[in-house]
């Protein structure tokens, strides 16, 4: 099997995987970085969201063979001690119910706030609409993104 060199959270990793293996499964099964979640496998739910060159991207749709030139950031790279303003806001608002989708939500929110540090409520709702929360913690996601924006400004 071919060998790929991936740059994840600023560190270089060597992976031996089939070229069509989605980045999602490389992270989870090959590199033991399980913060990135599997939800649908077709880019519809957002649970597997990572940053590729700074943009929120569904890792289930990126094949490992395409990923070796990319700068990848996962939830594990946001901060280890939950000290990123977005994580702090998530904690302050106590967003999660089951918690499964939340790393994807946080990754979408982080990339979004970088592009738009002072979003309106409707911009937050639009930007976060690619991420499903089955427990419907949506009111709190909305609040936490707004709070994080105010923390970061």
């Amino acid at each position: 099997m071919p060998v790929y060199n991936l740059t994840i959270n600023g560190q270089s990793h060597t992976v031996d995987a089939d070229p069509d293996t989605p980045l999602l499964w490389v992270l989870r099964d090959h590199l033991d970085m399980v913060g990135t979640k599997f939800g649908c496998g077709i880019g519809q739910c957002g649970a597997c969201t990572v940053h590729v060159d700074g943009s929120a991207t569904r890792s289930c749709l990126i094949q490992v063979s395409m990923a070796d030139t990319m700068e990848i950031t996962t939830i594990e790279g946001i901060s280890e001690d939950a000290s990123h303003p977005i994580q702090e806001a998530w904690k302050e608002v106590d967003v999660p119910q089951c918690g499964y989708c939340q790393s994807g939500q946080i990754m979408s929110a982080t990339a979004f706030l970088k592009q738009n540090p002072n979003p309106s409520q409707s911009e937050i709702r639009d930007a976060m609409s690619g991420n499903i929360c089955r427990c419907a913690s949506y009111n709190r996601i909305e609040k936490a993104v707004a709070l994080a924006a105010s923390k970061m400004s």
Binding site: I75, C135, R140
Partner: protein, 717 residues
């Protein structure tokens, strides 16, 4: 009325303590069943045996408290709220409490289950008793040390004091306390003295969740474990004829292909390889009977509703006579599709079956029942089976059924190695245990402007409403009242889905009463309140709800929502319901954007007794309301020739953040024993929205999902 009575439990011998070899005291207790007199908690923390006790508290020498939370966590918050109840009576600072999910070696338990919103209701009394008993033992130990009467001692935040100014931390007396007799009678705190209960506590797993630590079943792995993906019959009613696995086996990394029953498992070194292996299987399927479709169900259920094959669940007075002598009979039919659960974490389970033992790890709402079923399947003793519960990426009822754990166990046995079975989303939606499709026909007779009779008929695929539900509102409020059910046995697997039965029944009834008010030209709030007056003082023991508490939430919802005083262009809809021992009223506000109804706000008033953790409780209400709206609005799931017509989120619509209203929650403040909140906010939401849509657009909705029926001129039922 049963609302003020806490579920009873047998206190005798349900708490045992022991000194830990490593220091500190270990308290084993049983929440739901007294333990056998001869068992004692272990002295080594690694030997916790959840056969003997289903929960433990460890108080260390330094005063830190570890609580092994007994009930499965599916997002309903019990991993936070149940330990809060113990910590309250133990009288320790919440910051000094560490919570660990208790595992289960299953045997003897009646209720280590997440389901029916019952964890807090049943846990309330025993959890308090346990905390208070431990506190009393620590106080007794300190009092003996000081040579004072224990009644002169006080506790606060894990510190014991006496009248002489002496002070001892819990950690300083744990050794002595562990050697004391367990006191039989302890005093519980007055609710006014609560310091932890009623205050906001954040999710105990939050740091792990937001940093992406392994927590969920899907994250679980062990050395040497195979990843298994299973090909199941594509249609309900299909049987496996033959399967060619040559191509699958030729894929590098595929370790094994195992046929079991009508299913084929592909085992591989990683998930993706197993998924590729599954795609490469060439299976042919047969069927020995006609495959079912939604169209067929529609006809069958309609025929059942119009037929005579009913079982009567409750009958008061004489409905027939009331209808025969009525001035007017109003009859409406309400229809719902099947619904999949769609937990965000697809079904999965780990199993390691060896000649010595059966180890199961994963997300499960019913660890005890699942262990029993696995033992039966493998023809093993239940004592050989252990279950470790992971955090669950949602449950909603789907994880009550251990079918995925049984698959994992069977595959592990055949493969002779540890395996983790993983469902793809398509597997998860396609091999579901769905909320069944249901139709209700509700009729009311009116005489001299009064409702004299009420007849509800249910036709359902597979399971019907059960036990107590016919005793919910409006039972007791209408003299002639009857509930009849009929069902059709289907091959499609169905089961409990968040707020089972009432999730749709509430929509039907609360829509019906709304329309009834319009037809009778009476105020829709007054109609409900008038009916409730007739239930007050009832001697009917079967009646489940409290008319006083339901009346109260209705009145408070009217006040808090500004009912009747909406701004121009804002249309309100009302709904109130009792289920899962909790009384809820909701007011939905809808506006029209380009003539399309958009739900902007829901005001929700809840009487669940004492609110243990308001922060978590509000989250449950917000989620329950939005979940209820989402499924009423968009949830559409159909079958053709036995096969589900949507298998992923490209064809199955779940509500998203840009479609959600603001949920404003108000809890009734009282000192009643608490009830659960995982479910009761969901059922009223659909009717509140439907009634608001009626106000906005003049369209009365009788069928879910609304999105399909909102624009068409809705036919009368």
């Amino acid at each position: 009325m049963k609302n003020t009575i806490s579920p009873s439990f047998n206190r005798r011998s349900f708490i045992k303590t022991t000194a830990l070899a490593g220091g500190g005291i270990l308290i084993g207790f049983n929440l739901f069943q007294a333990c056998k007199p001869e068992v004692a908690p272990p002295v080594d923390i690694s030997q916790l045996n959840f056969n003997d006790f289903n929960a433990f508290i460890k108080i260390a020498d330094n005063g830190m408290v570890t609580i092994f939370s007994p009930n499965p966590e599916i997002g309903q918050g019990v991993k936070t709220s149940m330990p809060m109840i113990i910590a309250e009576e133990l009288d320790v600072a919440w910051d000094n409490v560490h919570v660990v999910q208790g595992a289960l070696d299953t045997k003897n338990f009646t209720r280590q289950v997440a389901g029916g919103s019952q964890s807090i209701r049943f846990g309330w009394e025993p959890l308090r008793q346990t905390g208070a008993t431990a506190r009393q033992m620590l106080v007794n130990a300190a009092a003996a040390k000081w040579g004072v009467d224990s009644s002169t001692c006080k506790t606060e935040n894990g510190v014991i004091t006496n009248g002489n100014g002496d002070k001892l931390g819990y950690g300083e007396v744990v050794k002595e306390a562990a050697a004391l007799e367990v006191p039989e009678n302890v005093t519980l705190k007055e609710p006014k003295d609560f310091k932890i209960i009623g205050t906001d506590a954040g999710n105990v797993d939050i740091d792990k969740i937001i940093t992406g630590k392994p927590l969920f079943g899907l994250d679980y792995k062990e050395e040497g474990m195979a990843h298994a993906v299973v090909l199941r019959p594509p249609a309900f009613g299909n049987k496996l004829e033959v399967c060619d696995d040559t191509a699958a086996k030729s894929i590098a990394g595929v370790q094994d292909v195992i046929k079991f029953g009508d299913k084929i498992a592909v085992l591989a070194k990683d998930t993706w390889t197993a998924m590729k292996g599954k795609k490469a299987l060439e299976a042919t399927w047969t069927t020995d009977s006609k495959l079912e479709s939604t169209e067929g169900h529609d006809k069958i259920l309609t025929d059942l509703l119009n037929g005579k094959k009913f079982k009567t669940m409750r009958a008061d007075g004489d409905v027939k006579k009331a209808f025969a002598t009525a001035d007017q009979v109003i009859e409406r039919t309400y229809e719902s599709p099947f619904l999949p659960h769609n937990c965000m974490e697809p079904m999965n389970f780990f199993a390691d079956v060896t000649p010595e033992k059966v180890r199961l790890v994963g997300p499960i709402q019913t660890p005890a029942g699942t262990a029993r079923r696995v033992a039966e399947l493998l023809e093993r003793e239940v004592e050989d089976v252990s279950v470790e519960m992971t955090r669950m990426g949602g449950g909603f009822g789907r994880r009550l059924y251990g079918d995925f754990a049984l698959e994992a166990a069977e595959i592990s046995k055949l493969a002779k190695k540890p395996v983790k079975v993983i469902y793809s989303r398509e597997d998860d939606m396609g091999a579901g245990i769905y909320r069944p499709s249901i139709k209700y026909k509700i009729s009311a007779s009116v005489k001299d402007g009064k409702i004299t009779g009420y007849h509800l008929k249910e036709a359902s695929v597979n399971s019907n409403m059960y036990g107590l539900i016919p005793n919910f509102f409006p039972a007791g409020a209408i003299e002639n009242y009857q509930v009849d059910v009929a069902s059709y046995d289907s091959k499609i697997t169905t089961g409990a889905w968040r707020a089972p039965y009432t999730n749709f029944l509430s929509f039907a009834e609360q829509s019906f009463f709304d329309e009834l008010a319009e037809i009778l030209e009476v105020d829709r709030i007054k109609l409900r309140l008038d009916l409730l007056q007739k239930v007050k003082g009832t001697t009917d023991e079967r009646i489940q709800y409290s008319p006083e508490r339901l009346e109260n939430v209705i009145k408070i919802a009217v006040e808090k929502s500004g009912w009747g005083n909406a701004k121009e262009g804002v249309y309100q809809g009302f709904s109130a319901y009792y289920c899962h021992n909790t009384h809820v009223a909701e007011v939905a506000e809808v506006i029209l954007e380009n003539d399309v109804p958009v739900v902007k706000k829901v005001t929700c008033v809840v009487d669940c007794g004492i609110v243990v953790n308001p922060l978590g409780a509000r989250n449950q209400i917000e989620g329950g309301v939005i979940d209820g709206i989402g499924h009423a609005m968009y949830g559409d799931f159909s079958f053709k020739d036995g096969e589900p017509q949507s298998k992923n989120f490209d064809k199955y619509r779940l509500i998203r953040i840009n479609e959600t209203p603001v949920v404003e929650t108000h809890f009734i403040e009282n000192e009643m024993s608490p009830t659960g909140l995982g479910e009761p906010a969901l059922p009223p939401a659909g009717a509140a929205v439907a009634n608001a849509i009626k106000a906005a657009k003049g369209i009365r909705l009788y069928k879910q999902p609304f999105i399909k029926h909102m624009t068409a001129k809705a036919p009368l039922g």
